[in-house]
């Protein structure tokens, strides 16, 4: 589904990703871990198409297409979803209205019929089940006045409605208390599907207690320096990131 090959990315003149390669297949959950400044969020942003990220080398193929050539909205329509680390407030724009406009824009781009408001509300009600998202949030402006936990859960809710093929969660666990973390994890687990892939970007192993990944990759200095199964996360938690660096110098992994 996704094949990242030798990706080099500069941000504001500084090279952040230095030859990152990663393959993600449908149905898989990949966790990307690593210390601050390793380039984890850069990876998520480049995949979603945020501006200001200059790809100097390498390629990203998604479903056989060159992902980097697509506008952010075209990537969304093609099934790429980024759950933001810091979801953005849009004052005065109703949350439900926003989500419906987004879903219909994607459907239109894919040549599918748009949903009318009745159909959409039905979908929302269905997806809200088990989300433990206060229903009144749907009538407020997008993320405006939401608590940190509500913002993150709203991202997961958007994901549930938009049904992406490739979901990237950028530190969705940061700033969440244990209850909110569990709810987010439940939301993600409910969406696990043989046709859907996840990339979980996280700093801590905590999230992975609740969402068990198929693969764990350690990112350091702009490269994947170690890959393994779910157990790798536990070892990291026990030994710290320094342990990886000592075992595997960055050059060796390139």
């Amino acid at each position: 589904m996704l094949k990242i090959d030798n990706l080099h990315v500069r941000v504001a003149g500084r090279e952040i990703l230095k030859g990152l390669s990663l393959q993600v297949n449908a149905g898989e959950v990949h966790a990307i871990m690593g210390p601050n400044g390793a380039g984890k969020s850069t990876l998520g942003n480049v995949l979603a198409g945020r501006g200001g990220y200059e790809v100097t080398q390498g390629s990203v193929a998604y479903g056989g297409r060159d992902l980097l050539q697509l506008e952010p909205e075209a990537r969304a329509a093609a099934g790429v979803f980024l759950a933001f680390q810091y979801p953005v407030e849009i004052p005065g724009v109703n949350n439900t209205y926003f989500l419906r406009a987004a879903l219909n824009a994607q459907r239109k781009a894919r040549g599918e019929a748009e949903l009318d408001s009745r159909e959409f509300l039905q979908l929302v009600r269905e997806k809200l089940k088990g989300m433990q998202l206060p229903p009144e949030l749907m009538n407020r402006a997008v993320n405006e006045g939401f608590s940190g936990g509500e913002k993150k859960r709203n991202e997961i809710f958007q994901m549930a409605v938009l049904e992406p093929k490739l979901a990237i969660l950028d530190e969705t666990d940061s700033g969440l208390d244990i209850d909110a973390l569990k709810q987010v994890a439940e939301g993600v687990n409910a969406l696990r599907d043989p046709k859907r892939a996840f990339i979980l970007i996280t700093h801590y192993q905590r999230l992975l207690d609740y969402i068990v990944p198929d693969f764990v990759h350690v990112l350091a200095d702009g490269r994947v320096v170690e890959s393994g199964g779910a157990h790798l996360a536990q070892e990291l938690e026990a030994h710290g990131y320094a342990w990886v660096r000592e075992r595997k110098p960055a050059e060796a992994a390139a």
């Binding site: 979603a48 198409g49 945020r50 501006g51 200001g52 506008e71 952010p72 909205e73 990537r75 969304a76 329509a77 979803f81 980024l82 933001f84 979801p87 953005v88 407030e89 849009i90 004052p91 005065g92 724009v93 926003f98 989500l99 406009a101 987004a102 879903l103 824009a105 994607q106 781009a109 402006a141 958007q158 938009l162």
Partner: protein, 479 residues
């Protein structure tokens, strides 16, 4: 961020869909202004002598005045002798059935229902084309309710006693330079009279259209709501695209007697000029409402997207005790448009309240100024005002300015002012796009959210039109 310069340039081309010219024979007075012109104009309109004299008084005073220079506007000098002060379609219709089909077509193109078949729309329309009213719909239905809705020219002829009583009683002939000019040469406009206790059975609306070149439009609107009466009135405006600047200097007077309620909504889409600032309408307008009776209420709602230059301060005089004034405004300036707009709330009666919500949007090289006065007179015990003034900037070359004035002479008053300035952030844009919305939809959604508070005050059909208008006006204004 990532938005390419070239995309930006491409998107900056605004479409002005109302910019066509109707090819119709016009009876036009030659350019220039003097007492003979005023006599000629008054004669063309078959006005009574008192009206002609009223005009001449205004004209003589206007000669002693100079254009106001205090606004934050850059106005090229206007040659008042180069303007024609009267232009009218040659075939004067006697009834709607006789209106020139070309005119009907014009209004159809603009989406204004002049046919009675537009009954479904449930809105009575007065259409003003250049200097004259070309037709008013639903007259019979309104007459049954006792409501008078007709052109100003007709009102002067048919209802002189009411016109004489109220004309100039809110905006006197000598009020300001442009009001004095209007008083001297006003051509047409709408007249609305809602008698005691009557709730007007439908929305009333006037659609102003400038068509002829080198002319000015000077319309005069007077709305009187007697004791306990209420009315909702809408006005819309468009003009063809021309390289010249055309002057539009209107006066609107509202009078609300005891317990009367007047709601006045405007969607102003005069031609704004091109990207370089060539052409466009000078929209220099005096609008004022007088809450003359106790417990009366006047609310102004305006969406200003057009005009090269806007100079406009719809105001309320809160004379009656417990009277209420409201001003809700969205003003958008794009390319090289300039707007200096706001309101005056003059509190005279006890327990009077006023609310001001102003939303300014600047894009391109647009300059947007809010100017507002809240005045609490000594007599206005327990007066309250709340002002909220928000500016949204799109791009780096535009400007937003706020000049709130407050004069408080009664210590029991509470006057509050809130102001914010924000930008459409790259973050917001990327967030919307990452969810599948393209750039333009994202911008219009963010702007729509910004304006929501004001749009809520507009009648339903107008809210939809206003939203669309903003979308078109902002096409590509991303930076």
């Amino acid at each position: 961020m990532a938005i390419e310069r070239t995309d930006l340039q491409q998107l900056l081309n605004r479409r002005y869909s109302a910019g066509f010219v109707t090819d119709i024979e016009t009876d036009t007075l030659p350019p220039g202004l003097n007492e003979d012109v005023i006599h000629a104009l008054s004669a063309r309109k078959r006005e009574p002598e008192w009206m002609t004299q009223w005009r001449l008084e205004a004209y003589r005073h206007w000669l002693t005045m100079t254009p106001p220079a205090w606004a934050k506007l850059n106005i090229a000098p206007i040659d008042f002798q180069a303007i024609s002060y009267y232009a009218a379609p040659k075939q004067a219709p006697k009834s709607l059935a006789e209106v020139d089909p070309k005119l009907l077509e014009t209004y159809d193109k603009l989406g204004v229902p002049l046919h009675e078949r537009a009954r479904l729309a449930g809105v009575a329309v007065d259409a003003v084309f250049d200097s004259v009213s070309v037709g008013t719909t639903f007259r019979k239905e309104l007459a049954e309710a006792g409501v008078i809705f007709c052109s100003m020219s007709e009102a002067i002829r048919e209802h002189p006693e009411i016109v004489r009583q109220y004309l100039g009683s809110v905006v006197p002939q000598r009020d300001n330079f442009f009001a004095a000019l209007n008083s001297a040469v006003f051509s047409d406009g709408s007249f609305v009279f809602i008698p005691k206790g009557v709730r007007c059975p439908m929305e009333l609306s006037t659609y102003f259209r400038i068509n002829a070149g080198h002319t000015g439009q000077f319309e005069r609107t007077l709305i009187v709501a007697e004791e306990g009466a209420s009315v909702s009135y809408l006005e819309g405006c468009t003009a063809p695209m021309r390289d010249e600047n055309q002057l539009h200097a209107a006066v609107v007077e509202l009078v609300a007697l005891e317990r009367a309620n007047i709601k006045y909504s405007t969607v102003q889409n005069w031609y704004p000029g091109d990207e370089q600032g060539r052409g466009g309408i000078y929209n220099f307008v005096t609008k004022r409402g007088d809450c003359r009776g106790d417990d009366s209420r006047i609310s102004w709602t305006q969406v200003e997207t057009g005009s090269a230059i806007t100079w406009k301060y719809p105001s309320c005089i809160l004379r009656g005790d417990r009277s209420v004034g409201e001003f809700n405004s969205v003003a958008l300036t794009h390319h090289r448009q300039q707007a200096d707009t706001g309101t005056k709330m003059i509190h005279i009666g006890r327990d009077t309240r006023s609310k001001i919500v102003s939303k300014g949007i600047s894009a391109g090289r647009g300059q947007n100024t809010y100017r507002g006065l809240v005045k609490i007179e000594k007599s206005a015990a327990n007066a309250r005002n709340h002002t909220q003034c928000d500016s949204l900037l799109i791009g780096k070359k535009c400007g937003a300015h706020t000049f709130p004035y407050m004069e408080v002479k009664n210590p029991s008053a509470i006057v509050e002012h809130e102001a914010t300035t924000s930008k459409i952030s790259d973050e917001q844009l990327f967030y919307c796009r990452s969810r599948g919305l393209d750039e333009e939809n994202a911008v219009s959604m963010i702007v729509d959210g910004f304006c929501k508070q004001v749009f809520r005050e507009l009648p339903m059909e107008f809210a939809v039109e206003a939203k669309k208008l903003l979308e078109v006006s902002l096409e590509g204004a991303i930076g």
